[in-house]
């Protein structure tokens, strides 16, 4: 009775509110249960969920452009294609250094293949340019060496760039992360070189390129920096630095290599003034095509909607989102066809499977066991064998046509076309997926008591009414389960449509397989797969709303 006067919470024996103590006990229980299933959960997460998530993530991931040519991407931001035909010289300059490094790391062709998905021809533009990067650099390197042999001396360069001060560790760190992104490898080991502060202020570009060279030489090639002659890109960077004003400041520099640097600055006119844009267009005319640069600009973001747009027959252009050319539209058709044909296959499975399951459930055990084996036997036969068998049966010189011609139903000249079209795919796939319909139907029908139908009949129902009003409603959970199984399996099928589908009977999964295993356009493959997955989930949700998922039984 004291509870009535005390409005505070109900307490347990140890004075803690009962609610909290109950919740605590429950939580402990749940935690224990979770720990029991933890091994399985972790296993499923690691081997199943994570790879799928990773694959789906590729449909938007597009870091490759930024990681391979970061400075060019930055420089391109200031370029307005509407005002200028081609990007300014600055872009071409940055692009030279980006691409030089990418070519050393053999990453430029990867970027070329990626961009070739968006604009035909970029692949070979990158490939052929990568081979000739040295040529541009040599224009600077050769006169430097003619002037002073120090400029091809590995140890001299190392001394010059190290300087005599504490060292610019920020620059080193920045270049490490740049190279790590480019090569997708760890670049954090000790490289035996730190760029000097003074020299990197005097020659910023040279210091940057030499640092990148040093990290790459040591971490990737496994060589000693002080023993390797720097790349042509470093010479080019030095020439540009000097031409851009470092020459006049070189007089005030007194660190290691000051003498050589001053000599070079005094003889600045021996170094060529290179028009990088001209040089590039000379190597490959693609670099003079504004579309190439616009493509790079449009696809320079870390994430892209491009793959998803492609999978619904749209495309990303500099002017926004547009429909693809009519002669390239295919995916919407394929999605529609996949869904339509999967539904057709599902309904044919219901039509054929229902009577068989009914027989199986209602015949004496001995006969029904034999029938069940007949259902299962093809199920145990290889998928390819069954598909090829349909080919032999259905083709124009095949068994069925031969019989029809023989009995005179069909004229020899007009044999029926039953394969390499939608009909062939539907027939073969219905056969292959039929057991997935029969088995759940059979196990549900077995649980329907015979007495119900008898009772209906004894109350005056006709055979049809008894079946339709009493038996059929009880078998619906089996139909539901069978339909979901068959539909989901058929929506992702690709071997059978590939072999018997011809041109009109192939599914979207055939294109996904092509992009994953042949064209290596995993981004597009992943986008198509994601859309397919979403479509299945939406249909499942619709099914749940209309029929109710509790109404599905496998037995």
């Amino acid at each position: 009775m004291s509870d009535a006067t005390n409005n505070g919470p109900v307490l347990s024996a140890d004075g803690v509110p009962l609610k909290r103590s109950l919740a605590k006990a429950l939580r402990r229980e749940k935690l224990r249960a979770l720990m029991l299933i933890a091994p399985l959960l972790i296993f499923v997460l690691i081997t199943f969920i994570a790879p799928i998530a990773d694959m789906l993530f590729r449909s938007v991931e597009n870091g490759i452009v930024q990681d391979t040519i970061p400075r060019s991407v930055q420089a391109l931001e200031d370029w307005n294609p509407d005002e200028q035909d081609l990007p300014p010289e600055q872009v071409y300059r940055e692009f030279f250094f980006d691409l030089f490094l990418a070519a050393e790391a053999k990453q430029h062709t990867r970027l070329g293949s990626r961009l070739n998905y968006e604009k035909t021809g970029i692949s070979s533009t990158f490939r052929s340019t990568g081979r000739r990067m040295d040529d541009i650099g040599k224009q600077f390197k050769d006169p430097m060496e003619d002037l002073d042999k120090s400029w091809d001396d590995a140890a001299f360069w190392h001394e010059l760039m190290s300087g005599s001060d504490a060292g610019n560790s920020d620059l080193l760190k920045e270049q490490r992360s740049r190279l790590a992104k480019l090569t997708r490898e760890n670049m954090n080991g000790d490289i035996g070189f730190v760029p000097g502060v003074e020299i990197s202020e005097l020659l910023p570009r040279t210091a940057r390129e030499y640092t990148a060279f040093a990290i790459f030489t040591n971490q990737v090639d496994g060589k000693v920096v002080a023993e390797e002659e720097p790349w042509e890109a470093v010479h080019a960077a030095l020439a540009l630095d000097l031409q851009e004003g470092a020459a006049s400041r070189a007089a005030g520099y007194s660190g290691p290599g000051a003498e050589q640097l001053r000599t070079l600055a005094d003889n600045l006119d021996t170094l060529p003034v290179v028009d990088f844009r001209e040089a590039y267009i000379d190597i490959d005319k693609g670099w003079g095509d504004p579309d190439v640069w616009e493509t790079i600009k449009v696809f320079s973001k870390k994430y892209t909607s491009g793959y998803f747009l492609n999978s619904v027959d749209l495309q990303k252009t500099p002017d926004g989102i547009e429909k693809r050319d009519e002669d390239q539209r295919i995916y919407i058709t394929l999605f529609q066809r996949t869904i339509f044909m999967s539904l057709t296959i599902m309904f044919s499975c219901v039509l054929l499977g229902y009577p068989i399951a009914f027989l199986l459930a209602n015949l004496p055990t001995k006969t029904s066991n034999l029938l069940l084996i007949l259902v299962l036997l093809p199920f145990w036969t290889s998928l390819l064998v069954r598909t090829s068998a349909w080919k032999i049966l259905l083709q124009q010189q095949g068994v069925i046509n031969d019989i029809l011609v023989w009995i005179g139903l069909v004229d020899d000249a007009n044999r029926l076309v039953m394969i390499n079209n939608q009909f062939g795919t539907i027939v073969a796939m219905t056969h292959i997926l039929l057991p997935f319909m029969i088995l759940p139907l059979y196990s549900v029908m077995q649980t329907i008591p015979v007495t119900y139908v008898r009772a209906a009949k004894s109350l005056g129902a006709t055979n049809w009414t008894a079946f339709w009003r009493v038996y059929f409603p009880q078998s619906i959970p089996g139909i539901g389960a069978g339909c979901i199984l068959v539909f989901i399996l058929s929506i992702g099928y690709y071997i059978t449509p590939e072999l018997v589908g011809g041109t009109k009977g192939v599914f979207i999964s055939n294109r996904i397989a092509y992009h994953i295993s042949s064209s290596l356009n995993w981004g597009l493959g992943a986008a198509l797969g994601t859309i397919l997955l979403a479509a299945v989930l939406i249909l499942y949700w619709a099914y749940d709303k209309i029929v109710g998922i509790d109404n599905v039984k496998l037995g």
Partner: protein
């Protein structure tokens, strides 16, 4: 009794030691008759010379490109040497998944001392690809279904009046586009220039349109052979080796045309990033397996032409049938008609994605 025991122990020890020494090397190829020919011509002699190496055959070449990329991403490369087509090799090289080859350093010179890079010559289409064989995609036809005038030109494919009936073509644009243009009157050397333009592509599709209703599109090379054998098609494209075996080994009523054959290359790549010891072994293997004699030996078992110039004179007879193999090589001078062409790898590397999309859309129309 004692002796027996000793022998058993010694035997077991020897077995154990043997298995501990033998190193596995995984070589990936296409399976079937092709892998068998490599096994006889390369693997078995190599293992006889190097008892410490055990070659494992993996038949994953059809999925090699995707699998190599997956292996590279997980950093666990289980393959040592991989057999791929020239087109895939370019893709793998571009993606940095295959190692670059120094031809003169890493491969055997010809018996007369010619360096490997010259001996392979034009066959070197990528820095990562060691050519092994030249095969061709060409036309086969039913001898009993073509009447009294069997076709002599590849363009019989487009001649529905003289040769009515179904055709079989591969379900991809490569080769089909070239054939369509060449039979539409474009000279061989202009084909790719024409195909680069929208009008040229439309022209090729228009030519293919004339036989589209009558064409069965295949994706596995066994399909057209089966269709020819069943009389399902009158004429169709497939690999010359498949046609040779259907004609010479299975005596089907099929004949083949060398006219307009489209050459293609098949060869080895070594995955990038192999550990030092496995790389050394893989290089040792390809040095042996791509020398002049070994390439000539393979032609004993399958009718594909060796990729080295110096191998051609050494091609002998078929190992089982005793047929002289030289006339069945796609590269035999008598078989290289003026319409024969090596498809342009660089061009297709650029245009494949684009034309494939158009081709699929065209098929679906």
């Amino acid at each position: 009794m004692n002796l027996n025991k000793t022998m058993i122990i010694a035997g077991a020890a020897a077995l154990f030691a043997g298995s501990a020494i033998a190193e596995d090397m995984t070589i990936v190829s296409w399976g079937g008759a092709y892998s068998a020919s490599q096994d006889k011509a390369y693997h078995q002699p190599y293992m006889a010379m190097n008892p410490g190496v055990n070659i494992i055959n993996d038949e994953s070449s059809p999925e090699a490109v995707a699998k190599l990329r997956a292996m590279n991403e997980t950093g666990n490369i289980t393959w040592d040497v991989v057999d791929v087509t020239g087109e895939s090799a370019i893709r793998l090289c571009d993606e940095g998944l295959a190692m670059e080859i120094d031809f003169d350093e890493m491969l055997a010179p010809a018996p007369d001392g010619t360096p490997a890079s010259e001996d392979f010559g034009d066959m070197i289409i990528s820095d990562c690809f060691i050519p092994q064989i030249v095969y061709s995609t060409t036309m086969g036809y039913r001898t009993d279904l073509v009447g009294d005038t069997p076709p002599t030109s590849m363009c019989a494919l487009f001649d529905l009046e003289a040769y009515p009936g179904k055709r079989a073509l591969e379900k991809r644009p490569i080769n089909n586009m070239e054939w369509a243009l060449m039979c539409d009157g474009v000279a061989k050397e202009d084909v790719y220039d024409v195909l680069e333009t929208d009008e040229g592509q439309a022209r090729a599709f228009a030519k293919l349109d004339t036989i589209k209703d009558q064409t069965v599109w295949w994706s596995a090379a066994a399909e057209p052979i089966q269709a020819l054998a069943d009389g399902e098609v009158v004429i169709g494209s497939t690999y010359n080796g498949r046609l040779f075996s259907a004609i010479a080994e299975q005596n089907q009523p099929i004949a083949m045309l060398w006219d307009g054959q489209a050459f293609d290359l098949d060869g080895w790549i070594i995955p990038a990033g192999l550990p030092e010891d496995r790389l050394k072994r893989a290089l040792d293997y390809v040095y042996f397996a791509t020398d002049t004699q070994r390439l000539a030996d393979q032609a004993k078992y399958i009718s594909y032409g060796p990729a080295r110039k110096s191998s051609a004179p050494l091609v002998g007879q078929h190992a089982d049938l005793g047929i002289e193999m030289a006339p069945h090589m796609p590269t035999d001078p008598n078989n290289v008609t003026e319409n024969a062409f090596l498809y342009n790898y660089e061009w297709w590397a650029d245009y494949r994605d684009d034309l494939d999309a158009k081709f699929q859309a065209w098929l679906a129309q």
